[in-house]
């Protein structure tokens, strides 16, 4: 097949409509990084074990390395780039900074998306729910406790704001 033959795949990323012409079996992770220049999602293991490529697709947490581009057609995708801006950080991003939840940074975008998904489903998670919600995301710097602390801090902050 030549490049002209690739089908066009339309979807929404962080509230923007996008259209890419790529091989249908190209991994969504590579489409995000190479075609859309959204390099937040990282490739760690490439087999759905490490979670560093985590994004949300139609409101569900997925590993973008395991999604063929064609299956993204018509979907709504959220990546870490859509969480906050440097001037206006998302509460989870603030909490990760304040609690030392990010060190080398490779796992951080995936952790933030998994934590975003967790808090969307369970605004006041127990420690056990946080452990399960982040079990698919590996970190080799923090030992996880600072990450769990970050999620607790973000959840409590959200609760304070809600009052």
């Amino acid at each position: 097949m030549t490049q002209a033959a690739w089908p066009t795949i339309d979807f929404t990323v962080n509230s923007n409509s996008v259209s890419v012409a790529v091989p249908p079996m190209k991994r969504l992770l590579n489409v995000l990084r190479e075609d859309l220049r959204l390099t937040g999602a990282k490739e760690g293991c490439g087999e759905g074990e490490c979670g560093s490529c985590s994004i949300r697709m139609n409101g569900q947490l997925v590993n973008s390395c395991l999604v063929p581009a064609l299956q993204a057609a018509g979907t709504t995708i959220e990546t870490v780039e859509g969480l906050g801006t440097r001037a206006d950080l998302h509460p989870l991003q603030k909490a990760f900074l304040e609690c030392g939840g990010a060190q080398c940074g490779i796992c951080t975008p995936g952790m933030l998306m998994a934590a975003t998904h967790l808090l969307a489903q369970t605004p006041n998670p127990t420690f056990e729910e946080i452990r399960e919600g982040l079990a698919g995301n590996l970190c080799r710097c923090t030992g996880f406790i600072k990450i769990f602390d970050s999620v607790i801090a973000a959840a409590q902050g959200a609760e304070l704001h809600a009052r």
Partner: protein, 292 residues
């Protein structure tokens, strides 16, 4: 990424009948793909041998869980996330909900489908032992019609099944008659999260006084495929739940289990841990019976 996306075709039929049409036209040429949690791993590693793939993810005809008073029907494309969230699965088939919670991570559960877990044919798969002890039937569909078989008959060997190349799994059907059964499911792996099973045992049983009046036992990784342990069941069925019965059943199980050696564990470890799991379940039954 060692695989080459340009080397693979992927088509997305708009309906199940359209998909079945492709399979009928050239049986064995199209590899179905749904959540991709198995095939995309192979793809990234450059091990995906099929040049032509056909998308099933999102097909309405394969989705959804529906119930009558007698039967729960689970569409082939239902994800483990959906299984965990279903109230009837939780109330009537708790072992299936528990097995679903063991599948990888939240991100894997949002994509991996029940039928994918079955047709992949791994002896270590999480869902099959629960389906086996709940007397599930599997329904297959092709352009020429549908057929059902009891799920224990579906797996015929290591990664081999009775499904023809022009067929797809349509649904699983579970009889809603296990509400009063004693149930057991335990998985042994290297750790709690994200671990593939070394050995797992599922059981459903009824006691009539001290007599074992119903018993179903099924295992992951105690054979080259998911299996019911029929000889061990026979050593228990109709017998009193006594120390002698338990002792005999454990000895039968050590004979009946025929696990494979692989990278995750050994034949001897699996056989003995499998028997220990049965011992644990039967001890729980004794405890329950004694508590009455």
């Amino acid at each position: 990424m060692r695989g080459n996306p340009e080397a693979h075709e992927l088509i997305a039929p708009s309906s199940l009948s359209a998909a079945l049409g492709y399979l009928a036209e050239s049986p064995g040429q199209w590899m179905p793909i749904a959540g991709g949690t198995e095939l995309m791993v192979a793809h990234a590693a450059g091990r995906l041998s099929s040049p032509k793939l056909i998308n099933l993810w999102g097909l309405k005809e394969l989705s959804g869980i529906s119930a009558t008073d007698e039967t729960l029907t689970i569409g082939a494309g239902v994800t483990f996330r959906e299984l965990r969230a279903d109230p009837i699965v939780a109330s009537d088939f708790p072992l299936l909900a528990l097995a679903a919670s063991w599948v990888g991570s939240i991100a894997n559960q949002s994509r991996a489908t029940l039928a994918g877990n079955i047709v992949n044919g791994s002896p270590a798969a999480d869902a099959p032992p629960a389906l086996l002890v709940y007397d599930a039937e599997i329904e297959l569909i092709s352009l020429t019609g549908r057929r059902r078989m009891m799920y224990p008959d579906f797996h015929t060997g290591y990664k081999r099944t009775r499904m023809n190349p022009d067929e797809l799994v349509l649904a699983l059907h579970l009889p809603r008659r296990f509400g009063r059964h004693h149930t057991y499911l335990r998985k042994v792996g290297t750790r709690k999260a994200m671990a593939i099973t070394k050995v797992a045992l599922a059981a459903t049983a009824l006691l009539d006084g001290e007599i074992i009046s119903e018993i179903r036992l099924a295992a992951a990784s105690l054979a080259d495929r998911p299996v019911r342990l029929v000889a061990t069941e026979a050593a228990l069925l109709g017998h009193p739940l006594s120390a002698a019965t338990i002792d005999r059943a454990l000895r039968v199980m050590l004979e009946e289990a025929k696990p494979i050696d692989d990278i995750r564990s050994t034949e001897a470890y699996r056989r003995h841990v499998g028997a220990n799991l049965l011992g644990e379940f039967l001890a729980q039954l004794v405890h329950t019976e004694g508590a009455r």
